[in-house]
Symmetry: C2
């Protein structure tokens, strides 16, 4: 039962990226890779972490309006490109190439990503998510009950199976 | 796939107590109580959270040197007093009473908690923990492999059962 006294507390840098915080950064990097091995998920440390993901998120909603199944495939492919292959999906060309690999019209998507309408769509979706209490990902709401994080997916499954507790 | 752009990012108050952060504070309070119900653990929101736990930690190490089994019982009782009954175990009298309920000598413990030796013991233990990469609780190290958090206890069990992955 070790404690850190208020006066001797470690520098609290939790406002920076998790992976760059003292002690917990080293742990987080190890835990990410270990979880990926446990789940059998391909994993490569991205050269940049974290990254802005607006381009990928805008592409997702543009695709949702045209082909929801393709949008879902793109979401999986984009996460796989970033965490599985370590590709920088903050770059628009990477986003467009990933969407194209899922069957999307690359030229039309590239043109759309620059429009105010597509930018506004993401803003609206993000504000709606925040209004529902969403602050991270994955975030799953079951009948109004919020669950955040990969380490709560088993609670989601249990909640769905039992109706809650 | 909602994203927060760097310019529109929510106020990042993650350096404060988890339960007082915007959005995630409300979620954390709900998640704490929901996890307690799932695990069948008594749970009462402490009036003060978080609290300094030096007195409880010093009592633990003082007990370890005299009766390790009693120290273990005290650790469980102290966590139960705080999270189960909502009692403020930052208060020395609460710590002593909790230890006494586990069979400890209340007068001897109360006297010991004020000594430089007992304070130094906790400091040494805490520094040793930090040197091993510990930054939170529960923190379990299995053959050099670190696991942090209640939501990693299933990984600990799997690591012990399989020898790692």
């Amino acid at each position: 039962m070790a404690a850190l006294s208020p006066r001797r507390r470690l520098p609290d840098h939790r406002s920076g990226p998790l992976t760059e915080q003292p002690l917990r950064g080293d742990y987080a990097r190890r835990d990410f890779a270990r979880c990926a091995r446990l789940y059998g998920a391909p994993f490569t440390w991205p050269a940049r972490f974290p990254i802005p993901t607006q381009a990928a998120a805008r592409a997702f909603y543009w695709l949702v309006d045209r082909d929801p199944a393709q949008a879902k495939a793109f979401a999986r492919a984009a996460l796989g490109a970033y965490f599985g292959a370590g590709r920088d999906i903050s770059v628009i060309e990477e986003v467009v190439a990933t969407a194209a690999s899922c069957g999307a019209d690359a030229a039309a998507l590239a043109a759309a990503l620059a429009t105010p309408e597509v930018k506004a769509r993401l803003k609206t979706e993000t504000e709606a998510a925040i209004a529902r209490g969403v602050f991270g990902s994955p975030f799953i709401i079951v009948d109004g009950e919020p669950f955040w994080g990969t380490d709560r997916l088993d609670h989601v499954e249990r909640w769905l199976a039992t109706g809650g507790w």
